[in-house]
């Protein structure tokens, strides 16, 4: 049986007019790296703040382990937060910032010194203990915020877009670094981000959120290969969505009348209006895939590792990525194909949601 560190049960959060989180239920498995992924305003921060104890749910219950924590103040919850703005105490040194939580728990002086130094070492800030937060770079402040939370060995660490303020190179570094630290310490991490690449890089489990609800939960490959909604398909990477209707157990008829095959089971539960989804890198030019589309190249972009074409077909425009420098040019007529196993299906009623 898996251990659950955090459990949300039908949690709703209402702010005056806005429903920030809408009847959300979730089990967070112990020791895993979770990412809450979704566009700005979808309720990620609010969910995190309810787990941390800074907001109370309007309805529903939150458990940490098997204890209900709804109604408890933050200082009675075994979670720690890395705030988006870092929220380092400007009047305290780096050492005292990191020691803050230990001091509140009355950890003895000698022990405390060792634990803080060890934590500063883990985040790569050995010897910075005497500085003030203001004397550090953004990346270093970020590490202090991390150390300050981690040193308390919380059951769950909550991170609210902690890498948002860093430049791209540093962000990439920190993504791997965070992953390493999570691995090393073995706590459960819940990492909020609106960057799908970041979520894919770091997380064991991604919770895709949209408009206060969980759109889909799964590991990165699962979400990428088998998105269940149009929203997930287009939020994680690029997808071609071809509208049609279910025409058989493994068959979808497109608006042009042409039929596409999909793998067994993909259509389970779907009826009526659906879209067949296919990732651009799964479409081949020419080739012998079971599903074929004819079209004309309207755009070509060479981006180093791949060449990206936009092909106009009679079921709409299709993006195609091929490795390296492609030899085809705009205006060229060609045949596209893809395997039924590469395709996924999403319901169109969901796609229609504004």
């Amino acid at each position: 049986m898996t251990v659950h560190d955090v459990r949300l049960e039908n949690v709703t959060k209402q702010f005056a007019e806005v429903t920030a989180v809408d009847d959300m239920s979730l089990d967070v498995e112990s020791g895993k790296f979770y990412a809450f992924l979704g566009p700005s305003g979808c309720g990620k921060t609010t969910t995190l703040r309810m787990i941390g104890g800074f907001e109370e749910p309007t309805e529903g219950t939150i458990y940490l382990g098997d204890r209900t924590v709804t109604g408890l103040p933050p200082y009675k919850r075994d979670v720690n937060t890395v705030f988006q703005s870092y929220a380092l105490f400007p009047h305290l040194t780096v050492f005292e910032n990191v020691a803050f939580g230990l001091r509140r728990r009355g950890v003895k002086k000698q022990l405390l010194r060792g634990q803080v130094d060890e934590m500063l070492r883990i985040v790569g800030l050995e010897g910075y203990g005497g500085r003030r937060p203001k004397q550090l770079s953004g990346g270093q402040q970020q590490r202090v915020a991390l150390a300050r939370a981690l040193v308390n060995r919380p059951r769950v660490l909550l991170l609210d877009e902690p890498l948002g303020a860093l430049d791209l190179k540093l962000r990439k570094e920190m993504q791997l670094e965070l992953k390493r630290i999570q691995h090393e310490m073995g706590f459960t991490f819940i990492h909020v981000t609106h960057d799908q690449e970041e979520a894919m890089t770091m997380a064991d489990r991604i919770v895709v959120m949209n408009r206060g609800r969980i759109e889909q939960l799964g590991d990165p490959a699962e979400l990428y290969e088998r998105p269940r909604t149009a929203f997930v398909a287009s939020f994680l990477g690029v997808s071609n969505l071809l509208p049609g209707v279910v025409a058989g157990p493994e068959l979808v008829r497109l608006e042009s009348g042409q039929e596409l095959r999909v793998a067994a089971g993909v259509l389970n539960g779907h009826t009526g209006a659906v879209s067949v989804g296919i990732r651009p890198e799964k479409v081949r030019i020419g080739g012998d895939g079971a599903n074929r589309l004819a079209g004309q190249i309207v755009e070509r972009a060479y981006v180093g590792v791949s060449t990206q074409y936009v092909v106009k077909t009679d079921v709409g425009q299709v993006s195609v990525y091929v490795q390296g420098a492609g030899a085809h040019v705009p205006g060229e007529q060609l045949q596209l194909s893809f395997d039924p196993e590469s395709a996924f299906v999403v319901s169109r009623s969901e796609e229609d949601r504004p």
Binding site: G52, P74, T81, F83, F89, T93, F100, R132, Q135, A149
Partner: protein, 266 residues
């Protein structure tokens, strides 16, 4: 042409500063005067005598003492009360908080004569004998407004995430206030306290209405001026000025030091 433009500005600044500081310079200079008669209005020779015997004029010492006691007490009480009001106003939306936010300005904008007279009316009606107590109440009253405004300015820019972070790390509300909120708004509180002290020690109008038989330093100077202006008044005036300026500079230097230190701490 550019020379003129640049130097006109400098000359203007010098004149403006001279305008501001000339009266103070006169006060300081005349504290070293050796006046011929009872009035210290014409220069008649340098002496240390006044500084050696600052309390030589009868009544001046006790009056100064009353002023200092009043200033200390009223600024302390007003700072505590004003800080609490500022916290309540910035942190909580309660019934009447918007109104209070505006009302707090009224004591600052009411003419002192009006405020002094109405307080006197109040005290007389309530049969409260005028004296140290009534002056103290009056000073606390007008000081609170200044404290609230000063501390509120500091609180408005306060990052609430800092308090959330403290609670996240296990500090309850009280510890959070002591360890995070208070140290961070302390510069504002200190500035407010200094301002209140300065406002109290030199208040004349409101004090005059409500003093009864009690004599503060400004009241003493006013009373004495009709029969004499001993140079000791200038001595004490200069001393108060120096203390006030030193306090202000110390506060500024302390803030700068707090902001900069850390690089040297292990």
């Amino acid at each position: 042409m550019r020379w003129v433009r640049r130097h006109v500005l400098t000359a203007y600044a010098v004149l403006a500063l001279a305008y501001l500081f000339l009266p103070i310079a006169v006060v300081v200079a005349f504290s070293f005067n050796n006046p011929k008669g009872r009035f210290n209005f014409t220069w008649s020779g340098f002496t240390w005598k006044n500084w050696e015997n600052p309390f030589a004029f009868p009544g001046i010492g006790p009056a100064l003492r009353v002023s200092i006691e009043l200033a200390l007490l009223s600024s302390l009480i007003a700072t505590v009360l004003g800080t609490l009001i500022a916290l309540a106003l910035v942190r909580y939306r309660f019934r009447g908080s918007a109104t209070t936010n505006m009302l707090i300005f009224i004591p600052m904008t009411t003419p002192e004569v009006v405020m002094g007279a109405s307080l006197l009316t109040l005290f007389v009606n309530w049969r409260i004998a005028q004296g140290f107590g009534t002056i103290l109440i009056a000073h606390i009253l007008f000081n609170i407004s200044y404290v609230v405004v000063t501390v509120r300015a500091r609180l408005v820019g306060f990052d609430r995430h800092l308090e959330e972070a403290a609670m996240d790390l296990g500090a309850n509300e009280w510890v959070t206030f002591l360890r995070v909120t208070l140290p961070l708004i302390m510069p504002g509180i200190l500035a407010a306290g200094l301002l209140a002290f300065a406002l109290s020690i030199d208040d004349f109008v409101i004090t005059y209405f409500n003093a009864g038989a009690t004599t503060t330093f400004p009241l003493f100077v006013w009373g004495a001026a009709r029969v004499a202006t001993p140079p000791q008044i200038n001595v004490i005036g200069t001393a108060i000025f120096v203390v006030a300026v030193t306090g202000m500079l110390a506060n500024i230097l302390f803030q700068n030091y707090r902001a900069r230190k850390g690089a040297v701490l292990a």
